[in-house]
Amino acid sequence: MSDLRALPLDDARIERMLAMRGGRGLPADLVADILATAAVTPQSRRWFGTSLPRLDRGTRTLLVAAAVVLAIVTTALLVGSQRQNVVIPPAPPIPPVTSPTPTPTPSPIPSAVASTAPSASASLPAAAPRDDHGPLIVYHRGVSAVDLFTLDAFTGERVGMGTLQRGAAVAGQHIEWSADRRAAFVYADTDSVSARIDVVDRSVAALVGVPPTGSSDSVSPSGDKIARLTDDNDLAILDLNGDPMTTIALPDGIQPLLRVRWSPDSSMVAVSSCLPCGDKGEGVPWHVFLAPIDGRPVRQVGDLAVEYIAIDDWSSDGRHLLLSDASCPDATCTGGLLVMDAATGVAARLTSTGETSAVFSPDGSQVAYIDGLFGTRISVKPTDDAPGGGRAVATVPDGAPIGFDDPTWSPNGDWILYRQEPVVDGQQTGIGDLWMVPSAGGEPRLVIKNAIADW
């Protein structure tokens, strides 16, 4: 084994490998080329960025004074006029969401220890799997605008919800339904939740009261609360107007970095973190913590002693967490998917070859996930299966430079929706196309191009 192989995946190894990729030295004549180009490139002048000849001081002073007067007059004329770039109105205060109480579905996952539901005082119990397919909620990036609509994946019927102008602050990277499917939420590139779609009223409102932040937001399934990690590494619970509802103190020393996950009944938040941690949020081991929002103590669940844990999903009955983990203690890296009992912390290994982006089926009996060396397979596996590979339902053709992401089950569990980055004449385009494939296996079909969606 080489020295490089013998190292764990630590800073030194990453730096060394990037340095090899970066190479040494400059191409010959690069500096000369830069200067030659600069010599014939006019610099922008300080007055409005236009190219002007150099003027004497007196003339410059007169021009600057004239510009200041013009700016004052122009500003006075523009005061009170509508902003041209307002594309959606600020959201009025969001009233509390109320919904009927569906009956939780018992989990089919066998457990060695009897487990209990996360909370007896649920504000919104887990939604039962639907019998019908249900529509997708779609964020579609068009040529000049973003369209938001529901889409029947089989008939193609669309119901418009609203339009966002391209370049608006609500650039989307994620969209998801609330549990009652009366609303959906758009998450921006900054990982902040940025807009709420009211599916009943067919309207879209920017959550202007919710400030963007470096922490990943997570909207509760009940659709009325936002969980966000604070700069002090605590957990803030906000309402949709951005007003704080409560702040939950997390254990000293943790540095949660990844997206937190609400329980299906919106009563608690799962957080993963190292403890103890280094200054970059690294360290071993990582743990899962459950933080009830009603003031009950935060508790660590299980003791996995791994280097990295992402919380991929909760089962719809709230009894199990789906985790992806990774550890690189020596020359080899290990990790994959785990199913953890949320009450006891007992975890069962499901896969062990780097699988990720896993989601429970609506009834909790199966898991869909991304595997393959570079995300080139969508696979399905029963949650009570022995550790090992699953059944591939979608595979990237050999040699095709594309990959899969974001597997999502249909409400009745018959289909899996996923995103595929398209290739047209070898060029990467858009934000990916959405495809769907029968969860039992079959021919994938294209749903819509240049879109993200939830089902």
Binding site: L35, A38, G49, T376, Q427
Partner: protein, 192 residues
């Protein structure tokens, strides 16, 4: 190994600041000194991001020429390096968006290319694996990996120069590391 901590505005010395100010007033000789101080570092990180010599050279040249053009409008010369970094990173991202991915190598192909035993072959395979893992990352994560692990920039400096929150930098850095880890894990499956 602890990375050397530098700030995005280094070298923050008065002589360099004077060069930047003079370059902003059209002094090409001063700009030449500014370029010579930074060209190798910029090119190295561009190459680490783009994975291609020619594209890295073009991206580096474009960044410096853009900086020359807009330099008179930079109100805080002390921010020159952070500003230049943002120009360069945006340029690399634009190039990454405009080209196709490196051709995917299937797991079987990767196995065929590896030689058993000798450390040099393992090094090549390891770097090749990393190269393909990096190609799978989006431009933002790729840039962050390079800025932090190759340029040794602390999180706050990266956040300041890219205009994004420190928390976002941290989470994306960790996601990028996790992506590399997954690639190595999958490769571990393929070993005899």
């Amino acid at each position: 190994m602890e990375p050397v901590v530098t700030t995005s505005s280094a070298p923050a010395v008065s002589a360099d600041l004077d060069l930047v100010r003079r370059a902003g007033r059209g002094d090409l000789a001063a700009f030449e000194r500014v370029v010579e101080e930074r060209a190798e570092r910029l090119h190295r990180t561009a190459r680490a991001i783009l994975g291609d010599d020619a594209e890295a050279a073009d991206a580096t040249q474009e960044a410096f020429v853009s900086a020359w053009r807009a330099l008179p409008r930079l109100r805080e010369p002390e921010r020159f390096d952070a500003w230049l970094q943002r120009i360069r990173i945006n340029g690399c991202r634009t190039r990454l968006r405009g080209r196709g991915r490196v051709a995917h190598i299937s797991l079987d192909d990767a196995l065929e290319q590896r030689q058993p035993g000798p450390s040099v072959s393992d090094q090549v395979a390891d770097t090749d694996l990393l190269a393909h893992a990096i190609e799978r990352l989006d431009a933002a994560k790729r840039s962050l990996l390079v800025l932090h692990y190759l340029d040794h920039q602390p999180v706050d400096a990266i956040a300041g120069s890219l205009g994004i929150p420190s928390g976002t930098v941290k989470s994306r850095l960790f996601e990028a590391r996790a992506a590399l880890s997954r690639a190595l894990t999958a490769e571990g499956e393929a070993r005899p």
